[in-house]
Subunit: 129 residues, 2 copies
């Protein structure tokens, strides 16, 4: 597949794929004789993984860490285990943090819905937030 088709399949632009290659999230693409990048279905899978990570609010660097561990397969390497364990606890911490924020926002929203808009005092802005 050419870059545009691959990008479209993953819901991205060709620019983004080149950017990911430069950033090390994608390995240097195979080239056809004319110099065009050539991709396979596996690239689309990888891009979708990246997209899900981005949707989860991970940085490209964090996603890259996970991918690079994934790239060595199911290696029994102790260091890989360490990295994975660390990623896992980072993820747990991040989830806990977001969950706490979620509760805070839900509470703000609860207050907002419970309040009578007519009573909202413009001078104090809005006491919900």
């Amino acid at each position: 597949m050419q870059i545009g088709e691959t990008a479209a399949a993953a819901g991205m632009t060709a620019k983004t794929l080149r950017f990911y290659e430069d950033s090390g999230l994608l390995p240097p693409a195979d080239r056809t004789p004319n110099g065009y990048r050539s991709y396979t279905r596996k690239t689309v899978d990888r891009l979708e993984f990246i997209r899900r990570g981005r949707a989860a609010g991970l940085t490209l660097a964090q996603i890259g860490d996970i991918l690079s561990v994934r790239d060595v397969g199911q290696s029994p390497c102790v260091h890989v285990q360490d990295v994975l364990a660390m990623r896992l606890s980072n993820l747990d911490a991040q989830i806990a943090e977001l969950a706490a924020l979620r509760d805070t926002v839900a509470e703000m929203l609860g207050t907002a819905v419970a309040g009578d808009p007519a009573i909202c005092d413009p001078a104090r802005i809005c006491s919900y937030l």
Copy 2:
């Protein structure tokens, strides 16, 4: 109050206040005869509102929308509800993605632990770390 004192009262820096003024989140400050910006307690309230919004993960643009609705004399409550509801559903989606990713990583870790660490070649497998 001078800018530094006001900023400190809101847990911010003077730079941030000037930036908020430039960004339209604060109205152009009153000036003392010597040209210094002069603030009142109301400014601190506004800054604290901004800080709470930021803590909830709202962008300055979203906070600015809420403030500008209030600034034309309308109660921003309904708008605040909308923004908070949207933020809440963003958070839920983000948490769900992170949880799915967490499972993936946990599974990778399970596979890694199942292997035999003794056959790990640190020079080859872990060189990218």
